[in-house]
């Protein structure tokens, strides 16, 4: 048996101190210990993208990080990005374009899309598809998601539709 280890990290701007077993992955830590259930688990082998979050400003698969590895890090989940207002316009575009149906892929998709727009404010449609190519959606067929990201690009850069 292994004993729980202390970790201290920042989650959505809140300082969290916890004791976790080494084998607990970051997705499960967020969901079960912090009850931040917006980070979804879809495959646990890093392929589907449903668990995408930000660690120290960069997107990662929460299922492929151990909670102990997040010690000392700044973690942002969909709840935090929503409350801070950082992706309000992206979310509005998703709503208007119905770029989500069941909503399960949506937190990861929004975080991945925002990641793209932070690095590349005017991506082409192909570039959008490429950046999101690691996020699985079974409901939308992706076109509405790409449209919504494009609409956000236009509104952020002030270009007309």
């Amino acid at each position: 048996m292994t004993a729980p280890l202390p970790i201290s990290l920042d989650v959505n701007g809140e300082r969290i101190d916890a004791h976790v077993l080494p084998r607990l992955n970051l997705a499960d830590f967020l969901r079960e210990h912090l009850h931040l259930t917006g980070t979804h688990v879809g495959c646990e082998h890093g392929v589907c993208g449903a668990c995408t979050i930000r660690v120290n400003g960069e997107i990662v698969r929460a299922c492929l990080m151990l909670a102990v590895q997040a010690d000392g890090s700044a973690v942002e989940t969909i709840e935090g990005l929503s409350d801070s207002g950082e992706i309000t316009d992206l979310q509005a575009a998703f709503r208007d374009r119905n770029a989500l149906q069941c909503g399960y892929c949506t937190p990861g998709m929004l975080i991945a899309a925002q990641d793209l727009l932070k690095q590349n404010p005017e991506p082409s449609r192909d570039r959008i598809r490429e950046h999101l190519s690691g996020n699985y959606c079974r409901c939308t067929g992706y076109q509405a998601i790409v449209d919504a990201v494009e609409a956000t690009v236009r509104s952020r850069t002030g270009r007309a539709a």
């Binding site: 080494p22 084998r23 993208g49 997107i59 299922c63 990080m65 151990l66 190519s133 690691g134």
Partner: protein, 294 residues
């Protein structure tokens, strides 16, 4: 699936890490980026007793150019390689190749040390090391070894590293001024492991290959620096010579059949890749097809 229980250590020095590996041998696994290790643990394909997290070893980070050598620390993440001006300037093949590794979220965590130690036959970076004539620096408790890439990759998930050694860095010669490169892989979807791929470094002068190092991946147990390409160095390339080299390549390779592709298909792709590589590097589009019409 949840990983089996394990003990976790986060050494604060390379010496400490090596001490742990020496003590635990095959019961321990090194955790670098975790992008290959953690899925395997989550799926309970492996159940190590001890995880040695080397993420805190600052000395394993960083890209340094000294003279003609680029030294890339083992903990350098794929995204760091992708964004590195030094790599772009002196080893652009790597910049191109690393963009094909999985997806952004994976590249933000996965490391070059991890990728090379893991030695997935379908991975991009091991083949790049062959093409770039890289040297892997491995450290054990008592000594440091320098292993040329050609000797490093031994088989499926097998390298020359022993259980108590840590890959600490990889060193590449700075690309010569007029050198060129080629990279292509066949994947069913963006970011997938390749069905077959080729990473090549070359030097071309007046339409003649002075040097040509094409490394194929996903065509066998480990990446292959195609010996068949040797016949293309120092001579004018005619369609006949190229066909002969391709025939020699087919002899040289022993591709595997798996769910993704048969041996025959891999062999077909390997030939296509070498053909396209030569055609692209020489700027001679007419060489890229073998002239077969519908």
């Amino acid at each position: 699936m949840k990983a089996s229980a394990f003990t976790y250590a986060r050494p604060t020095s390379v010496a400490d890490a090596l001490g742990l590996l020496a003590a635990h041998g095959d019961n321990a696994k090194v955790l670098s980026g975790g992008q290959s290790l953690v899925p395997a643990m989550n799926l309970r394909l492996i159940s190590p007793d001890l995880i040695v997290d080397i993420g805190g070893l600052a000395e394993l980070r960083g890209i340094i150019v000294t003279g003609d050598v680029i030294r890339i620390g083992a903990l350098t993440r794929h995204v760091d390689v992708l964004n590195s001006p030094e790599i772009a300037a002196y080893a652009p093949l790597l910049t191109e190749a690393v963009a094909h590794v999985a997806h952004p979220a994976i590249r933000n965590r996965g490391t070059i040390g991890g990728s090379l130690s893991h030695a997935d036959p379908a991975a991009e970076l091991p083949a790049c090391m062959l093409a770039l004539d890289a040297t892997i620096v491995a450290r054990g408790r008592n000594c440091e070894r320098r292993i040329v890439a050609a000797d490093f990759f031994r088989g499926i998930f097998q390298t020359a590293l022993s259980a108590d050694e840590l890959l600490v860095a990889v060193e590449l010669p700075r690309a010569q001024e007029r050198s060129t490169y080629f990279f292509h892989e066949f994947t069913r979807r963006h970011g997938d492991y390749a069905l077959a791929g080729l990473a090549a470094q070359a030097l071309v002068e007046d339409g003649i290959f002075v040097d040509l190092r094409p490394a194929l991946f996903a065509v066998g147990d480990c990446p292959v620096l195609a010996k068949a390409a040797n016949t293309l160095v120092g001579v004018p390339i005619t369609p006949k010579r190229l066909s002969e080299a391709l025939a020699a390549l087919a002899e040289e390779l022993d591709p595997h059949t798996d769910q993704q592709a048969t041996a025959a298909m891999r062999g077909h792709f390997a030939g296509l890749l070498l053909r396209r590589c030569v055609s692209a590097l020489l700027g001679r589009p007419e060489l890229s097809s073998n002239g077969r019409a519908a």
